[in-house]
């Protein structure tokens, strides 16, 4: 059996969610915009499941749009700076964002003259943001917050941050990249002063190609996509009812199992942190457990190449990742790692182990032993 520890990249779909997906494709393929009975049935499914999805973060269904996933959600969130029509042109953002945030502000900078300023810095196992507040000024239109960073798992206290930001300026929009936290950590948007928050289905054992965006003020929202006026004109495109039904199911399950899973992965995460140093010399953990999501464990092993370790492990059907699967396609080091100042001889040996609902305590020792075995092997081979 595969030991899949790359859940921050994507997850195995839950079997109930999968059944829902197939069943809905078979039986409810009508377009919810159609006038006939099949259309009506599809619309019912849509409404019901939108409720399950919005319940996950204690939002009203009218404050949620369904998107194609996290990337669209983040793009659309940043796009909201357009609401200020050039009056406020500055985005405040961190250096540990997902490329769907970074690449989009680069686009806005190029095409719309948006200015970008960074906040936050790495300090002693956490990504601190206390320098944010002094940077908020009259020109600031939007602040992005990576709720859970996808590479190291750095966790931000959104409640405190949003309080302070809105305390300084009520007008500033706050976009939260919620992709790595949604369905795993508690989020209650009714208590948070955020304007938009992206989330995704396939990171929590749901179907791929679907996600959502929370929007606090739909009447002020500027859509990214225009067309047939679906989703109350906020996001055009025929609704993918089978995926929505399946995502709804996923959320239903996730909300029931959230606490139990959280405790489990925290235990597993701790086990790795305790066991690995017993088996391998010179390993450093990037990020404190207290200041990161327990779903992500990032570490650097001296004098190995993480890619080689990954290939060794795949032979045993163990799957981990080198950094973030999205940024490891690019050559060069991602900004997150640059911020961390990992020593050069550790940097190449940086891996991410990320957990999900199917992760197991009983696999930990097995995986640690394999990592140790291959680390020794690789250290013999890779010249320094």
């Amino acid at each position: 059996m595969a030991v899949y520890l790359d859940n921050a990249a994507t997850t195995k779909i839950d079997s109930e969610a999968l059944n829902k997906l197939i069943e809905t494709h078979k039986n409810n393929y009508g377009n919810p915009s159609s006038l006939h009975k099949m259309g009506v049935n599809s619309e019912k499914i849509y409404k019901l499941n939108l409720e399950y999805i919005s319940n996950m973060i204690n939002a009203k269904p009218s404050n949620i749009i369904i998107t194609s996933g996290g990337t669209e959600g983040n793009n659309t969130g940043l796009w909201q700076i357009i609401r200020f029509k050039n009056k406020k042109k500055k985005i405040l953002t961190t250096k540990i964002e997902h490329p769907s945030v970074t690449k989009y502000w680069e686009f806005l900078k190029e095409e719309k003259g948006i200015k970008v300023q960074h906040y936050g810095y790495y300090n002693n196992g956490e990504y601190r943001v206390d320098d944010l507040y002094e940077k908020i000024d009259d020109s600031t239109g939007l602040v992005t917050i990576p709720f859970v960073n996808s590479e190291i798992g750095f966790l931000q206290n959104i409640e405190e941050m949003t309080q302070k930001i809105k305390g300084i300026s009520k007008e500033v929009l706050i976009h939260v990249d919620g992709v790595q936290g949604f369905g795993k950590l508690k989020i209650d948007v009714s208590k948070l002063k955020i304007d938009t928050m992206s989330f995704s289905s396939h990171k929590i054992h749901g179907p791929k190609g679907i996600g959502g965006l929370y929007i606090k003020e739909p009447d002020k929202f500027v859509p990214l996509l225009y067309g047939g006026g679906q989703q109350k004109n906020l996001r055009s495109g025929t609704e993918d009812i089978p995926s929505i039904a399946s995502f709804g199911k996923t959320c239903e399950i996730a909300s029931k199992t959230m606490d139990e899973n959280y405790e489990k992965v925290k235990r597993i995460n701790k086990m790795y942190r305790e066991l690995l140093p017993n088996y391998i010399e010179e390993v450093i953990f990037n990020g404190n457990l207290e200041k990161t999501s327990p779903y992500i464990l990032n570490l650097s092993i001296k004098d190995i190449k993480s890619e080689v370790l990954i290939h060794f492990l795949e032979m045993d059907d163990i799957y981990i990742s080198s950094g973030s699967a999205c940024s490891s396609n690019y050559k060069g080091i991602s900004e997150t790692y640059q911020a961390l100042n990992i020593p050069q001889n550790f940097l190449d040996g940086t891996v991410r182990i990320s957990f999900g609902r199917y992760s197991n305590e009983k696999d930990v020792k097995y995986v640690v032993e394999k990592i140790a075995k291959y680390t020794n092997e690789i250290r013999k081979m890779v010249r320094r």
Binding site: K305, E307, V308, H311, K331, K380, M381, V382, R383
Partner: protein
């Protein structure tokens, strides 16, 4: 209106008594790309033809990649009868006028069959007159016409205008069998293509060191060989894992010699497989001076490890020329994908550029070379057949 494709052969024509052998090989290549038993290939006085009614453009494109063919033309085939020819030429000019703006034309008649009663020059006049009389709004221009109507008289008559370049060279299989050392870079697929064009029936061998290289780099090799096979015909790719060899080199030899010794192993393994599977030569993408292992000195030291001929079609080419060909044959985009190939992880920081054969041989004494070659082939070979 087209109902036939004509093909002119290049160098085969010069092959005298061996011509039959070359034509036979060409026939095999054509049958493969045509892939339709209904379509018959036949010869008519030195040229090759096939009758075809549908999808002519697609077929012309396919044939333009066949080695041994210099020119491909879609054409109209009729009986070699003067009245027929007259009528068809008029009809043909009208047909061509439908698809583009043609104001001027020229007839270019040629008799491969000298028994045809009307001489070429006279035919030009007769057919030209016929067109002027029967086609509206058109004039003759012998210097720079919008349309050239070739009338090629053989046992049948063929009328055509377009001349597309064929694959050139000699038919695959007419010049023995070769084993291409395929690395995943830009050069080696081009080398394989070029030797294929000289008639060598090529297969490939590729070295990797999984898990120090990724599964994706082998997938890349498969993709490259699939593209090459459009020209070379179906190929085999032998994948060989040489990790154990690197391991032993690392343990027992000087670091600066790693690349050269590893290359010598690749040659030996390739030679061994060539002997077993009856290949006549090895083919590499080496280009003089491109990297440390491609200096004259290095080439000599590497070559010394084997007896089999090593063909290096790119030896005198500049990188830009190689890239141009790689773009033409559409391997370039795949070659530049950035997966570590088997050279990069084990390359020493300071490789020797002027290796000394005696030093290398001395270093190799620390290894059981024969055994390593045997065991590597025995334990790791995997074969991929192109699509």
């Amino acid at each position: 209106m087209y109902n036939n494709i004509s093909m002119s052969l290049g160098e085969i024509v010069l092959k005298g008594r061996n011509r039959g052998y070359f034509e036979n090989k060409l026939n095999q290549s054509l049958k493969r790309v045509i892939d339709d038993k209904e379509i018959k290939i036949y010869r008519d006085r030195g040229k090759v033809f096939l009758d075809i009614d549908d999808n002519i453009d697609k077929m012309v494109r396919k044939i333009s990649k066949v080695f041994g063919i210099v020119v491909v033309s879609p054409c109209v085939k009729i009986e070699s009868d003067l009245e027929d020819i007259k009528n068809t030429v008029v009809e043909y000019v009208n047909f061509k006028k439908e698809s583009r703006n043609i104001k001027t034309f020229k007839i270019k008649a040629k008799r491969a069959d000298k028994t045809f009663p009307v001489k070429s020059m006279d035919l030009n006049n007769i057919l030209g007159g016929e067109v002027l009389k029967n086609v509206e709004d058109i004039k003759v221009d012998v210097h720079n016409p919008d349309l050239i109507v070739n009338v090629d008289i053989r046992s049948k008559t063929y009328i055509y205008s377009e001349k597309y370049q064929g694959g050139g060279g000699l038919p695959i299989g007419s010049n023995g069998r070769g084993l291409v050392l395929l690395s995943g870079g830009i050069d080696s697929p081009v080398a394989g293509y070029l030797m294929g064009r000289r008639g060598v029936k090529v297969d490939c061998i590729s070295f990797h060191s999984y898990p120090y290289t990724s599964i994706r780099s082998n997938e890349k090799i498969k993709e490259l060989s699939d593209i090459m096979s459009v020209y070379t015909g179906p190929m085999k790719v032998y994948f060989v894992n040489i990790l154990e060899i690197y391991r032993q080199i690392k343990e027992k030899c000087q670091e600066k010699n790693t690349t050269i010794i590893a290359r010598r192993f690749m040659m030996k393994i390739s030679e061994k497989i060539a002997q077993r599977e009856e290949y006549d030569c090895l083919v590499t993408g080496e280009s003089l001076g491109q990297v440390a292992s491609q200096t004259i000195n290095s080439l000599r030291v590497i070559e010394n490890s084997v007896d089999i001929p090593i063909l290096r079609p790119l030896i005198g080419n500049d990188k830009t020329e190689i890239i141009d060909t790689a773009r033409d044959i559409e391997t370039y985009e795949i070659s530049i994908q950035p997966y570590d190939d088997c050279c990069s992880i084990f390359s020493p920081d300071n490789p020797v550029t002027r290796p000394n054969l005696d030093n290398i041989l001395e270093d190799e004494k620390n290894l059981d070379v024969e055994k390593l070659v045997e065991e590597t082939i025995e334990n790791s070979i995997e074969i991929y057949n192109t699509k």
